[in-house]
Structures are given as C-alpha cells and as structure tokens.
Symmetry: C2
Subunit: 441 residues, 2 copies
C-alpha cells in the first residue's frame, strides 16, 4: 500500500503516441473478437508459418542480442535469452498447439428463461486488450501472442531490453503472419522503450489485463503501479509437510523432486516441515539425500539436532531461495504446520505427505493456497501438467482465476438478454412473474 500513497515520478503518463497506438490495438481487437473460431485458428497457424519463414532473421536477431549482452549477463539470463534452432522449433510447435486448442469463446455458461419470451444467456467473450511485460525470454513472446490471438485479444508486448532485437524480429514475423489472415496485424503491438513500458501501466480503459512474466521484483513493481488488473504472482513460497503418518520413503522422494527438479521454479518448495514423531527417522536419511543432491539444508534447533547441518534464522522462513537451499523445521502437530504455512506461505502451492486419510483431508480443507497437494510433488502446479494445454501465468490471488491459468484467463463473459418488449414494471406490479427456468446449455 505504501507505494500507492507515494508519488511515483517513475511512472509517467502515457505519451500521445502510445495512447494512439494502444487505441489502434483496441480497435483491431474489437474486430478480432468477432472473428470466428476458424478465422482465429487460421490466424495463429499463419503466425506459426511466418515464424518458420522468418527463422533465419529471428536467429540472427537473437545472436545480435547475445553478442550485445556478451560480457554483462549472468549465465542463467543468457540461457533464457538464447534462442537456438531447437528452442525456436519448439516455440513454433507451441504456437501450432495453441492454434489447435479448443475455442474458449462463445461458450454458454448459463441459459435461463426469465419469463416466456425473455431469455438470458451468459457467454464467454475476449477480455479485449492484454498487456504483457516480460524479461529476457523471447520464446514467451510467441507463446503469449498466440494465446492472445487464439482467444480474440489484442496485445501490447514489452520484452526486456536484452532481448530487443529478438523481440522485434519475432513480432515482425507474427505481424506478417497476421497480414496473411483476416486478423489485422495491428492487433499485436511491440513496445520498445522503458517509457512505453511504464506508460502501459497507465492505459486504464485501453488495456484490460497486465501479465508480467519475470522476476518477483518486476511483478511487485507492476502490481504497485497500476490500477489495471494484474495476473501473476510475486512470491512462490511452497511448503511440504511430512506428517507423523507419512511414508518416509515416499515423502523423501517427493521432497527431493519438489526441491531439486527445477529449483528456480515458483512451484519448488522452500520449506520442509517435519512432524516431530517421524523427524528422528526421516531427517537423518533426508539430510544425507539432500546433501548428495547438492542441497543446503537450514534447520531449526530440533532439525539441527537430527543432522541438518546449517542453522536457519527467522529470515529463512517465508524466503524464496529459488536455489538449492531448503529450510527445515520440526513441528509438533498438524496445527503447527498449518499455522506456519498460514504465516509464511504465499498461497501458491503447499503439500502434505501422509497415510492418514483424516489428516490429509484436514490439510486439504484448511490450507488456503491456490494448490493443495497430497502425496505428490508441488512441481505439478503448472498449466501444462494440469492439462490446460498452455499457460498464461500462475496467480496467487484469492479471486479467480488463480493457480495455473490457461486460456480461460484471457476471456470474460457477457450477459445477453433477448425479449419481446418485456418491461420491468410488469414484474414490479405483480402482473407478470419470473419463471427462472433453466434451459439446456
């Protein structure tokens, strides 16, 4: 809240040029939103074909970005920035997969006869225009742009400075693809400067949703500086609770996967809670296994007494390491584990390992996170793994959409009411009565 009450000279008003371009995207999006399923699908396929045609240009542009970055970037960032032929092919295949997804638009969610001849329906429609801000991952441009067009939305894209040549080449290809379809290329617009990226945050009324894809700091800055809804999450502080009734081998296998399978992911665990009844048998084995996997364990006093080599400080609880480090705490009850998660969790994904069905159901009912898992790795919290085909982002907000969000995060709905001259006064007077009869969807 502090940020909202602080002057932010860092966020200037959008320039007239940006306002004009955003309005053009919005106009194109309104036409796009009325295209048929087949037309939008064909447009995304045309985007994939154009990416293939522009392959050499895209790879060259990416090499230029890599050359420019050369000395300055951390290896992890270079890895994200790099678009080799295999990665580009994968991204193009991903665009084709998005084309093949079922149409999220025009789905009737509600259908009610309010009275004879007065029929209400609720149907899915596009959001309108989506603003996407991401750091150095050129493949994300292709993914998000294809999801947006598939679901009938215009898009303002802003990539990281390090990926500027790659993004320009990719968007040029995507627009060339759209030009060969019925969708206007203006439905996709690339923002290039920091000023434009900040101006985007103030495009209320022109942009309906902002999706940040990047560091916690990026997401938090955006959440603090825009009134436009933001789909995303700053923190991913996931917990695994090993219950008194846990199968020790199963729990260790799950814990190792949840920490080490991809430690930088938001759905990797950061804290392991172990019930004191099993800690004496579980923790020595776990300590050895985590050490072998290169994971640094930081424990409370009870955990250290059972072999955890490093001491955890208060700062370690609720911390997102994003690395091969894991905090470990011994708890005396399910309630203590729940209270710890309540206090330090980020409502992303939390898991329990137990064979006790009653304890399992209590945990699944009580933990207030987007994902609550039993006897499996938190790493499954992902749109692809959930079967959504593609992921727009992961939200840790309370309100829907939350958790991994597929195409449904890019659509909203509208009520349509068709009558034959019906007026409210007739119902207020009691002359007519509502039937409220459900009709088939």
């Amino acid at each position: 809240m502090a940020a909202m009450n602080t002057p932010s000279p860092a966020v200037p008003d959008p320039s007239p040029d940006l306002l004009q371009r955003a309005a053009a995207v919005r106009r194109s999006a309104m036409a796009l939103g009325q295209c048929s399923d087949q037309e939008r699908r064909a447009a995304v396929e045309a985007m994939a074909a154009a990416l293939e045609a522009h392959r050499p240009a895209i790879l060259a542009a990416n090499q230029a970005d890599l050359d420019a970055a050369a000395a300055g970037l951390a290896p992890a960032l270079v890895a994200r920035l790099k678009l080799d032929p295999a990665k580009l092919d994968g991204a193009i295949a991903g665009v084709r997969q998005v084309a093949a997804l079922a149409d999220p638009l025009g789905r009737r969610q509600l259908h009610t006869e309010l009275d004879q001849g007065l029929v209400l329906e609720r149907v899915t429609v596009p959001l309108g225009v989506v603003g996407v801000i991401f750091e150095a991952r050129p493949d994300a441009v292709m993914q998000i742009a294809s999801l947006a067009i598939r679901s009938g939305n215009g898009t303002l894209l802003k990539g990281g400075r390090e990926a500027s040549c790659s993004c320009a080449a990719i968007v040029e290809a995507l627009q060339a693809g759209l030009a060969s379809s019925v969708v206007a290329p203006q439905a996709l617009e690339l923002l290039t400067s920091r000023e434009e990226s900040l101006g985007l945050l103030k495009l209320d009324g022109l942009v309906d949703l902002i999706i940040p894809r990047g560091s916690n700091e990026l997401v938090r800055f955006i959440q603090d500086h825009t009134r436009i809804p933001v789909l995303g999450h700053a923190d991913g502080i996931c917990h695994l609770y090993v219950d008194a009734a846990a199968d020790g081998d199963l729990a260790l296998r799950v814990a190792l996967d949840a920490k080490t399978q991809y430690p930088a992911a938001c759905n990797a665990i950061e804290t392991l809670l172990v019930h004191s009844a099993v800690a004496p048998s579980f923790l020595p084995a776990a300590t050895a296994a985590f050490a072998a996997a290169g994971v640094e364990l930081r424990g409370d006093a009870a955990a250290m007494a059972l072999g955890v080599p490093h001491a955890a400080s208060e700062d370690d609880w609720g911390r997102e390491y994003g690395d091969l480090i894991l905090a470990v705490k011994v708890v005396d009850s399910l309630e203590e584990a729940l209270e710890h998660i309540r206090q330090y969790g980020s409502r992303h994904t939390d898991a329990i390992c137990t064979r006790d069905a009653e304890v399992a159901e209590r945990f699944l009912a009580a933990v207030d996170s987007a994902g609550v898992f039993l006897n499996c790795s938190t790493r499954f919290a992902d749109g692809f793994r959930y079967g959504f085909g593609a992921e727009v982002g992961i939200s840790t907000q309370t309100l829907p959409p939350r958790g991994p969000v597929g195409l449904e995060g890019l659509v909203t709905y509208r009520y349509r009411l068709r009558g034959e001259g019906h007026i409210a006064a007739d119902y207020a007077s009691g002359q007519r009565r509502f039937s409220h009869a459900s009709l088939p969807l």
Copy 2:
C-alpha cells in the same frame, strides 16, 4: 490513476486495534469456511431468528438515527435510512431466503486424472474475509451479512454515520444469532469510525474483497485508495438504441420503462439513440410520452428538430442523471450507435430495439458491456431478476465476476491434487506420461 500517485494522508494505516480485530475475523472465517452446508444454513437461520427477537431494539435504534438526522438529511436519504416494521420484516424474510439458497461451496468445477493415481480437482471455497462499506441503508447490513455467512466468509461491516445506531443494533442481533450456532460471532465485525473505514482499505492480506454499496463518489474513492479487489461499479450509463427496424410501440414502451421505472437505479437508461430513419415517426410520439411521464428530454439538433424540447450539450453524453432526465441523439447507422456507446458508455447494460435479426446479433456481439439486451428494458439487469436469488453487487469491470453478481462473487476455488508419491521428474524424463483424462464432475 492520479490518485495512486498522489500522497493520500486521508488514508492512514490501520490501527493496532483494527488489525487485531480483523485478524480475529479472519481466524473465525477460517473455521466458518470449514463448516458444513447444514451448519452455515442453520447459522443464517439463527441470524434471522435473532433479528426477529431483537425487532423492538432495532426499530428503536433506527428511530434514534432518524431523530438525530431529522433536519439535516435529504428526503431520499431519509427514505433509505428508515426501517419501518414492514421493511424490517422484508429484510428478515430476505435473510431466510439466503439461508435457503443452494450451497455455493464445495462444487467441483474440474476433475481430471493426470495419470494413474494422480487426480486433480478444482473445488469452490470461500474468499475468506469480505469488507463491506455502505451508506445509509441498514437493510443492506442484513442482506450482505447473511450472504457472507452462507458462503463461509467473515465480514467487516461499515455503515454510514447516519445509520450508526441501526447498524449497531442489527449487528448485535446478528452476532447473538451466530452465538446460538456453531459459527463464532466474531466472524462478523462492525466498524464504527471513519478511521476504521479508511483503515479497512489497507487491510491487504486480511481482507480479500471490498464491496462498496453507495454513491458513485464512494465507490470511486474506494477504488482509488485500496489494493484489495473491489466488487462494484462507479457509473451506470446505460443506452437504448432504437434501430431503423424497430417496432416503434415496443421501443417506446421499453424506453419509458428503462427510464422511469426507477430512475435512480444504475440500470436505468441515461441516453436514447434513435436511428434517423425512424426518428421522424418515433421522436414526436416519444417526446409526448416522456413529457407525460415527467421526463425532461435533452436532444441534439436533429432530435430538437423533431420535438425534443431541450438542447443537450457535450456534457450530457455519458452523464448519469439518476433522475427523470434523458439525453436523446439521432444517429445515422448502427455503427454510429455502437461508436457512441463505446465512447460514452460505462459497460454496464446497453439495449437495442429492432426487428432485424442480423442487426440484433451484430449489436449483441459488438457491445462490450456486462449486459447487452434485445427488445427489453435495461432494468432487468439485476441479480434477483436474473434468478440468482440474491445480489452481492453489480460489477462493470472486464474481468469476471461482472454484471449482477450473486453468491458466486463471494467464492473462489482451489486446486487439490492427490497422488501416491508422484514426482515431476518422471514426466520430465519421459518415463511416465500424462493421461489428462476427464473424470465425472
């Protein structure tokens, strides 16, 4: 946006006392959220019974508010503030109706086998804690409190100063009702001072949704000063477009209802758009009918030439009169009508009268409002009329929930994944594959 970048000394940090009370509501809400359908239903019924038992005290408190207000209040405000025996009985009956509503919790929205023994479900759960700020309508306290308890949510209530005695007496009754149920009375908390009301806006992490019920100014102030999601709408600028192919009698009947049936409502029309092809026949008759109904018409030059008595200025478009005043504009095409609505509408509810099915479908597809109506009054945009049983509020936002929002506005969902030791590495390595088989809901 300006407000976000301006220091707001008007919004102080919550006091330690408020933080403590809000935390108590949250704790009570977590227990409430795990109550069964029957327990929550019984709690709401106990609230209704307690309201009946406290009837004399509530009516006396309301009289005290009325006496205190006496000279100072506008008649419309006194009418909203006044709680006579009939109105109180109606409100208590409303609480009983809420008890009878179908349980919004525990509904399975998705059920997928990700792999053998690894099953995902998405189930509805309460939001947590709802903050409700309303002006002088004591009946709203009973309605919102019962909806919140029915859906498993804790509630912080803040009524207008004018209704302070009434609200205190009502909340005392509601808490007494809860005390005779399994739900803790602390799940409902009444805020009494302006400082607390402002502090509520900063209870991020303790309050999940704020519902303002009051003037446009109240709603806008809240939207500008909180990071907590707000369910509501500032403006209701609804249009009716009388197409070239409209049935004139039907259109006039609908227009009169949409303007006059309750002009202060947000779903009443503020602007009438009339196609130039029918304006010469429609407008003279409409002018006479609206004059007879006491409505002041303000038209553009073309409308005035056809009998509309007053001139509309640029300020009249997009203005919410909330009164017996209607702006009238003659347009030359459906496109001009759509463009006018796009420019001046508030995305609440807009209607068309036409016999041309193609024009109707184009209007229903193109207008980007929460409600788009054909040949019926905009006054039907209401949760009760839509058949939702009760209304939490009406939202004009793009993202769901939008339009009239019933109990579903007070629930969210959670993903539960149950496995048998499943780890992500097995799928990354290709050793196992996802089945993503839909299971019955």
